[in-house]
C-alpha cells in the first residue's frame, strides 16, 4: 500500500453473514484488507440489505474520531433497519433515495415532474441499460473490465448520465437514487471486486454532515408516517374542526353552534375521505401513465411516479373533499336545521 487513503463504507445489498460480505467485497478472505474488515465489523454477525459495513486500509489505522463517527452512522442505520424484515430492508435500501428526496422536495416536484418526468426517467433508464450492457459485453468478450475502449465507452455514458441528472429539483432525487458517488480510490487501493461499491466515509451521514444514514432514517420515518402518521394527521385535522366548533359555541354565537358543528365536521370528514381516495386514485392513474410511457413498474422511476401520483391526488382529493364537505354541511343545515 503506497498511498494513504481515508476510510469508507459499503452498503449491504445481499443478506448474509459477515464472512459472506467479506467474500463478496474482497473476492476472498485471506488477505490483510479482508481480515481487517472482519475485525472492524466484528459487531455485525449477520446483515440485512441497507446496513453499512466499514471498509479501511489496514496499513493506515483509523483515527479514533473518524472511527467513532463512522460507528455512530453505522448504529443509526442499524437502528433504522433492525425492526424491518429482510425483504422490507432490501426494499428500503433500493428506494431510500427516492423516498427521502421526494419527501424533502415536497410540492415543488409536481410542476417539474409532471411535464418532464416521463421522458426524463425513460432517458435515464435507457442510459443505465446501455451502461449495464457495456459492462456485460466487455466482460463476456474480454473476461475482464480493464480495456481502454471499455473505459472510454463507460466514461461517455457516465457523462451522458451526469448531464441528465444535473437538473434542478429532480437532480436531488436521481443523484440520491442512483448513488453516483463511488469511492474509486478505495476500490483500487484495496483491490476490491469490480462489482463492489464503496463510498467515502463522510457520505455515511456522520455528525452534522448529511448522508446515507440521515436519508435512510428520513425514508424510514416517511414509510412509518404512512402507517401511523396518517392517523395522527387525521386526529389533528379532527381537533382543528373541534376547535372551530368550540369557538363558535363559546363566543356569543351559541345559536350557530349546531350549524357550525355540522359544517366543520362535514368538511373534516369529506376532506379526509377525499384525500385517501385521491391519494390511491392518483397512485394508480400516474402509475398507469408511466407504464404506458414505457417505465417498468418494478423500478425506482415507477416508484417516483406512484409517489408523485399519491401526493398530488391526495392534495387534490383533500381540497375537493373540503369543498364538498362545506356544501354538504350547508345542505344539511338548510334541509334539517332551519
Amino acid at each position: 500500500m503506497t498511498k494513504s487513503i481515508t476510510p469508507g463504507y459499503c452498503i449491504v445489498e445481499q443478506p448474509g453473514p459477515l464472512a459472506f460480505q467479506a467474500q463478496t467485497l474482497f473476492n476472498g478472505r485471506s488477505n490483510n484488507a479482508s481480515r481487517y474488515f472482519m475485525t472492524l465489523n466484528a459487531d455485525s454477525a449477520w446483515l440485512k440489505p441497507g446496513q453499512i459495513l466499514l471498509v479501511a486500509d489496514p496499513e493506515n489505522a483509523l483515527t479514533p474520531n473518524t472511527l467513532r463517527l463512522l460507528r455512530l452512522a453505522k448504529q443509526n442505520v442499524n437502528r433504522t433497519i433492525a425492526p424491518m424484515s429482510t425483504d422490507d430492508a432490501g426494499f428500503m435500501q433500493k428506494n431510500y433515495g427516492a423516498i427521502a428526496a421526494l419527501t424533502s422536495v415536497g410540492d415543488k416536484l409536481f410542476g417539474t415532474a409532471s411535464d418532464v418526468g416521463e421522458k426524463y426517467f425513460r432517458q435515464i433508464e435507457s442510459t443505465l441499460q446501455k451502461i449495464e450492457k457495456s459492462y456485460q459485453s466487455q466482460y463476456r468478450s474480454q473476461g475482464s473490465l480493464i480495456s481502454q475502449q471499455f473505459y472510454a465507452e463507460r466514461a461517455a455514458l457516465f457523462t451522458e448520465l451526469r448531464g441528465m441528472v444535473n437538473k434542478p429539483i429532480l437532480a436531488r432525487l436521481t443523484q440520491k437514487t442512483l448513488k453516483l458517488k463511488y469511492y474509486e480510490d478505495m476500490r483500487h487501493a484495496l483491490n476490491l471486486s469490480s462489482k463492489s461499491i464503496v463510498h467515502e466515509w463522510s457520505t455515511a451521514g456522520v455528525g452534522a454532515i448529511k448522508g446515507y444514514s440521515t436519508y435512510l432514517d428520513g425514508a424510514s420515518r416517511a414509510a412509518t408516517f404512512m402507517k401511523s402518521g396518517g392517523y395522527i394527521a387525521i386526529a389533528f385535522s379532527g381537533l382543528n374542526a373541534t376547535n372551530e366548533v368550540m369557538n363558535a359555541c363559546t363566543t356569543g354565537r351559541e345559536m350557530d353552534c349546531p350549524k357550525v358543528a355540522v359544517k366543520e365536521y362535514s368538511k373534516f370528514g369529506f376532506s379526509t375521505g377525499g384525500a385517501i381516495l385521491g391519494g390511491s386514485g392518483g397512485a394508480m392513474l400516474v402509475g398507469g401513465i408511466c407504464v404506458v410511457a414505457g417505465i417498468a413498474t418494478g423500478g425506482a422511476a415507477a416508484f417516483a411516479c406512484g409517489l408523485v401520483g399519491s401526493l398530488g391526488g391526495g392534495l387534490l382529493g383533500g381540497a375537493a373533499g373540503e369543498q364538498v364537505g362545506a356544501k354538504f354541511g350547508d345542505g344539511v343545515n338548510t334541509l334539517f336545521l332551519n
Binding site: 397512485a283 413498474t297 406512484g306
Partner: protein, 130 residues
Amino acid sequence: MDLFLMRIFVALGAVFILLFLTCVVIFFRHKNHYNYIVSSYLEAKLFMPSYYKFLSQAGFFGSFPVVLFFRKVIKKKKVKISHGEYLPEDAYVFFSGQSLVNIKWMKGYSFLYLSLMVVFFLLIILTFWI
C-alpha cells in the same frame, strides 16, 4: 329546482359517508387476511409494482390500489409491468392456491372503492353546479 338538487346532493353525501364507513369496517374486519395475503405474496418473491409494495405497508391508507391489483390477478387479467412485458404466470398460480376466506372479501371491497370514486366525482360536480 335548487332545493331538489340540494336534496340529491345531501342524499349522495350520506351514501358516500355510508360507503366509506363500510369500507373502513370491511378492511378492519379482514385486516388479518389482507396482511396474510400481502406477506405471503411478497415472501413468495412474486412481482408487485414497487410503489404498491410501499403502499402495502401503509395499512388502510394504501389498501385500495393493492387490493385492486390483487383483484386483477385473481380474475386472471393480463397485467402490464413494462414495455411488452406482463405479470408472470406464478402470480396467478399463487392466488389459485389461496383459501377463499382470504380473498373473497376483496371483491366487495374493490367494488365499494370504485362506487366511492363514482359518488365522490358526482359530489364534486354537484358542488360546483348548485
